[in-house]
């Protein structure tokens, strides 16, 4: 059976949530949402510092109510779980990379000040 060129957004979101829930507590994820960005087939060759091909999915975990999770190992673990799962689906050249997003709101700046 031939795989589709990329998994559906629904499948990618399910993979992302499983990985995130395995790596962070429910408290840490309160109010969080996931956005998939730049889901592209990429053969990036700008100044030879780049992704060498395949599906690249940026998984942005948006924390509207949380401050920094400050847990780099959990971020790497979640990323590893996503990559493991998408490899298992047969997408051997795919990368799913987790990033944390913090909406740049005025209230956030007031809190910091």
């Amino acid at each position: 059976m031939t795989l589709p060129s990329s998994p559906s957004e629904e499948v990618l979101l399910a993979i992302a949530w499983r990985a995130v829930r395995a790596s962070y507590t429910a408290d840490q994820l309160e109010g969080a949402k996931i956005e998939l960005r730049n889901s592209v087939h990429s053969t990036f060759h700008v100044d030879d510092g780049s992704h060498s091909g395949g599906l690249l999915v940026e998984v942005w975990l948006i924390h509207p109510n949380n401050d920094h999770l400050r847990d780099a190992d959990a971020t790497a673990d979640a990323t590893g779980l996503m990559i493991q799962e998408i490899y298992a689906l047969g997408y051997k050249d795919a990368l799913m990379l987790l990033y944390h997003g913090y909406p740049d709101t005025p209230s956030r700046h007031r809190q910091a000040a």
């Binding site: 700008v46 780049s50 060498s52 920094h68 913090y102």
Partner: protein, 158 residues
């Protein structure tokens, strides 16, 4: 290997202290610097293992520079991708995972005009880079040897 940590300090200065509100251009430059700190740390670690470290106040030798510069971004990306496998040694796997994330972030920051990192996102990436550097510093001698071979040895067809 303090230069890579100095680069992370440069990134912190770009985004400023708790009350600072850096421009997106400063944030994007900081992301680029954060990635470069990790890449530099990798190149220095390899050169130090092959040629040997140079003194704090000494200049690197020609051989050291040659090894340092033999590692390019794409090669590093391809080699480290192999360590994303869950069966890889922990420190190498964590380093490789952060490397992939930071390199992709840097490509966005440097080449995508629509990409706008904010201060909090940069601060997270600085933490990730710090962690990556610590993980690389903790790989075993044998693991490092395997990584070095993969990074610098080009197999030829005879």
């Amino acid at each position: 290997l303090t230069y890579s940590k100095d680069l992370l300090e440069s990134a912190r200065r770009l985004v400023g202290g708790p009350r600072a509100r850096p421009k997106h251009s400063d944030c994007n430059r900081a992301v680029s610097t954060v990635y470069y700190a990790v890449f530099d740390h990798l190149c220095r670690a390899v050169a130090n293992k092959i040629v040997g470290p140079f003194g704090k106040y000494a200049s690197p030798t020609e051989n050291w520079v040659q090894v340092y510069r033999s590692i390019d971004h794409r090669r590093a990306s391809e080699v480290l991708k192999k360590y994303l496998d869950p069966a890889s040694p922990t420190h190498l796997k964590q380093f490789a995972t952060h490397f992939a994330r930071l390199q992709n972030a840097r490509i966005g920051a440097d080449y995508d005009p629509a990409k706008k990192f904010n201060k909090s996102e940069v601060e997270d990436l600085i933490d990730d880079a710090t962690s990556a550097i610590n993980h690389l510093d903790n790989v075993t001698k044998d693991e490092m040897a395997g990584l070095i071979v993969a990074l610098v040895v080009r197999t030829s067809q005879r």
